[in-house]
């Protein structure tokens, strides 16, 4: 009997945490996980970062809910792990205990202003090109006006 009461309490807590039934269903279909936790921070793109150490063991205690639009791409359904910027990535993967809200990252030259997610498969993808020198140098005809 007590377990059912616990279960109901948890369910109600989750509904409340996700702002109602609509939010709950959106979370369920988008993230496939309806756990609630304390909101640690939001990055400048809108990704939300949560933590719950009490109820979940190591590995499941920190998670991110991605934003709906990043860098011009609609990411409501097409989310990608590479959307997480570097400073939050550090915390999310438990490399540190300190989130960037309490310990902002040291500015580095190689950190881009706007974080780019993985563009493979899109027109902006990297295509390898040869860097060897040309074997045959063609003759460039002289400019007509110069004659």
């Amino acid at each position: 009997m007590a377990e059912y009461a616990n279960l109901v309490r948890r369910a109600l807590g989750q509904l409340r945490g996700h702002a109602g039934v609509k939010g709950f269903l959106l979370q369920l279909f988008r993230v496939n996980d309806v756990k609630v936790g304390s909101l640690i921070g939001v990055d400048k793109y809108g990704n939300k970062y949560y933590e719950d150490k009490k109820h979940y063991f190591f590995g499941r205690h920190r998670w991110v809910i991605y934003t709906t639009e990043m860098n011009g791409k609609n990411t409501l359904w097409e989310v990608d792990g590479s959307m997480v910027p570097a400073e939050w990535h550090r915390w999310l993967h438990c490399m540190t205990e300190d989130p960037p809200t309490t310990h902002p990252p040291e500015p580095k030259k190689f950190l881009a202003e706007v974080h780019q997610f993985n563009v493979s498969g899109s027109p902006q993808q990297y295509v390898p090109y040869p860097t060897t020198r040309k074997k045959i140098h063609e003759w460039v005809p002289p400019k007509a006006g110069a004659q």
Binding site: K135, I136, H137, E138, W139, P141, P142, K143, A144
Partner: protein, 743 residues
């Protein structure tokens, strides 16, 4: 039936044997009693008296290891690798035994004493038994592999693997030698040098420049130029082949390829008129280096620097796409269809003298004959070569008038050579090397009428003026006595001297000199005296054989509406000589002088990229083979002309290379008898037909006088960065082109 090469060659050989003198100097006929019998490892072998032990063993089939011996250089005997044990006939023993009996207190221990003998230097004596692999011989061949930085093609490494010991017994300190800077072509790593002195002997004997020598003695012996001097010779690249270790290597080729990665293709060089045989090494579709091939008749085993190092010009300034001049006058790339239809359209509208062609210096016989057939079908006879040749008198109708009739080998049998208006050192370096060889070994006397140039051997300079020629022909010059006393005279006139306005007069005067020399010397019928040395143009003889007119005067007199330039880069005809709206079509492989002038450009193939026939200045027909494919959209030249003919409606009757070659055989059968010299006759008739003209009193100056004129003479060498470095080094010194070394 005569087209079968073996049958034709056999018949040609039979015909040759009857009239021409033998061209073998190296093995003159000797009495049979001069042969000596020696034993090599017990096997009897008959050799001529005076051959060395090393040559006798080679005749028996056994190669004795050596470092400093080279067949074409004098014997040095300083490397001591060829030491062998000789068992002599034991006459000494009997004498000593009798001595012992007579003075029985004396005890003679008669042991056949072993003194190892340098096989390269010791001449054989009768009855010797040469042991090439006995224990004492093997002990004498000491090879200690001191170098860790050896060269992958190192003979030293090969021989020390074969003959050296397997463990080190070296307890002294090692030496290192500084690298010398001897020019932009030869990379020196003198620590590897084993002081075999092959390069020193090559430089002094064959190249004629005494730049390399030895300094110091014993362990401190260094080979170099002593002062910082460039090894200034047009044959300098051959020391790379001659050095048995990696002390002298090719600087442009360094670190570009490994020899086992490359494919070798046998071919012919067309950067000068000698037609030296080369091997083109390629890897991955580009030419990596050019090496010489052995051909006793033309280049022995040497090639000139331009032949060896100008291959990087094949990769720059190339024409890779057909181009057409658009309305604004700018050449833009286009497709083959477009270019060929335009050419065909232009050709369909012209007849007779309105269309003309100029053949350039590197045009092959196949494309020459296709072009001639095409233009002849359009009723035109205006096909010209860029180089002028006097057409008065016999002109180019008799082959003897424009060939090097004595052949390059014939110089070795001659005893007097008269050069007129030519600088063979820079015009045909291998011909000069042969002259020098005869001057050195066969007592050839050389005289020159022309600019006083350094030919690497001494000669009698008779003067520069054409008046000298007139005096020689009349018999009033003091040198005429020497000329008439010569047993086998040879007269060589340079083709540049014949390009002057009084070229016909020069040719007739020279012809008279040659005839007089022949009659007064009493030499036999087959000996040819008059020779013409073509300087830089490899296509001239083939073009004249096929019936091209020499010189562009015919075009200048009748300016055509359509001009076809087949690789013509000498700039003989410019836009100014042509009418206003004429069409110029350029077919070639480099964008040099002819291409910017053209309205339509058809990209052709260079000599390494086609199967082509070239005839050298002796009249010897040789063929190149495909080493790399032509770049981009370029195609073989005769195929382009065949395509043009089909679109123009006058289809040429051949579709494959064999059919073109049978067409060549129809016109002039010697063009497909490869590697044989087709000799020419009718000297007397040619002399009788000459026209008497006046000689102009200008001095006879060949176009290539100093070293800097040698390196860039045609479109390929002008595009080459290595040749540019050579010119810079020659004018400003070796330090000007020194680059920081990579290793």
């Amino acid at each position: 039936m005569l087209r079968l090469p073996t049958v034709g060659r056999a018949l040609a050989g039979a015909a040759k044997g009857s009239l021409a003198p033998s061209n073998t100097v190296r093995t003159p006929v000797r009495a049979a009693s001069n042969m000596v019998e020696v034993f090599v490892d017990g096997k009897p072998v008959e050799v001529e008296a005076g051959t060395t032990v090393l040559q006798a063993c080679e005749k028996a089939g056994i190669q004795i290891p050596r470092f400093c011996y080279h067949e074409r250089l004098s014997v040095a005997g300083n490397c001591r690798m060829c030491l062998v044990e000789i068992e002599r006939a034991p006459k000494v023993r009997t004498w000593l035994i009798s001595r012992h009996i007579a003075f029985h207190c004396l005890i003679f221990v008669c042991v056949p004493c072993f003194q190892p003998v340098a096989a390269c230097a010791m001449p054989v004596m009768k009855g010797w038994n040469i042991l090439t692999n006995s224990e004492k011989t093997r002990k004498a061949r000491i090879v200690i592999f001191l170098n860790s930085n050896h060269h992958p093609l190192c003979h030293f490494q090969d021989q020390s693997m074969q003959f050296g010991s397997d463990r080190s017994r070296f307890t002294e300190g090692k030496r290192a030698v500084e690298d010398k800077n001897i020019g932009p072509l030869i990379k020196t790593i003198m620590t590897r040098c084993i002081q075999c002195t092959r390069c020193v002997r090559f430089a002094s004997e064959i190249a004629g420049v005494e730049d390399l020598g030895t300094t110091g003695r014993g362990n401190n012996l260094q080979i170099g130029t002593y002062v910082e001097k460039m090894f200034m010779s047009e044959l300098s690249g051959n020391v790379i082949d001659v050095c048995p270790v990696g002390a002298l290597t090719s600087k442009p080729y360094a670190f570009t390829a490994r020899p086992w990665e490359t494919r070798k293709t046998e071919s012919i060089d067309v950067l000068d008129a000698v037609g030296s045989n080369i091997i083109v090494s390629t890897r991955g579709g580009e030419v990596m280096r050019v090496m010489p091939r052995l051909n006793e008749d033309i280049n022995e085993e040497w090639i000139s620097d331009k032949t060896r190092f100008a291959y990087d010009g094949l990769k720059r300034q190339r024409l890779t796409q057909p181009m057409v001049k658009d309305e604004s006058g700018q050449l833009t790339p286009t497709t083959w269809e477009d270019a060929l239809t335009r050419v065909a359209g232009a050709l369909q509208g012209v007849q007779g003298n309105e269309v003309a062609a100029i053949a350039g210096g590197m045009a092959d016989a196949e494309s020459l004959v296709s072009l001639k057939d095409l233009l002849n079908r359009l009723d035109s006879e205006s096909l010209c070569t860029e180089e002028l040749f006097p057409t008065d008198g016999a002109g180019t109708d008799l082959r003897s008038n424009y060939l090097l009739n004595s052949r390059i080998v014939g110089i070795e049998e001659s005893d007097l050579l008269l050069l007129i208006g030519t600088n063979p050192r820079y015009e045909a370096p291998l011909f000069n090397a042969r002259i020098r060889k005869s001057w050195l070994h066969n007592e050839l006397r050389v005289a020159m009428v022309g600019h006083n140039v350094d030919l690497s051997y001494t000669y009698d300079h008779l003067g520069e003026d054409t008046s000298v020629l007139k005096e020689l022909a009349d018999g009033t010059h003091p040198f005429c006595e020497v000329l008439s006393a010569a047993k086998r005279p040879v007269v060589v006139v340079g083709s540049s001297a014949l390009q002057r306005d009084d070229g016909a007069a020069i040719l007739s005067t020279v012809s008279t000199i040659a005839q007089n020399a022949r009659t007064s010397s009493g030499v036999e019928e087959g000996w040819k005296v008059l020779n013409v040395l073509h300087s830089r143009v490899a296509s001239q003889v083939a073009a004249l054989d096929l019936g091209y007119k020499a010189g562009v005067d015919a075009i200048r007199k009748n300016p055509p509406k359509v001009l076809f330039l087949l690789g013509a880069d000498a700039g003989c005809i410019t836009r100014a000589d042509l009418p206003q709206n004429s069409l110029v079509i350029y077919q070639g492989h480099h964008g040099d002088v002819g291409a910017p002038m053209a309205d339509i450009i058809l990209p052709g193939a260079a000599y390494t990229e086609k199967n082509a026939t070239y005839v050298n200045t002796e009249g010897r027909s040789q063929h190149t083979k495909v080493a790399v494919t032509a770049p981009g959209m370029a195609r073989e030249d005769w195929k382009i002309i065949r395509a043009v003919s089909e679109l123009a409606g006058v289809t040429l009757p051949y579709d494959s290379l064999d059919e073109v070659r049978s067409r060549l055989a129809e016109v002039s059968p010697n063009l497909v008898r490869y590697d044989d010299v087709e000799e020419a006759n009718f000297f007397k008739q040619a002399n009788d037909l000459t026209v008497n003209q006046d000689l102009i009193a200008a001095p006879l100056v060949p176009p290539q006088i100093s070293a800097k004129d040698f390196y860039m003479t045609d479109s390929i060498s002008r595009a080459s960065q290595t040749m540019a470095k050579c010119v810079k080094a020659v004018t400003e010194g070796a330090a000007a082109v020194e680059e920081p070394s990579i290793c």
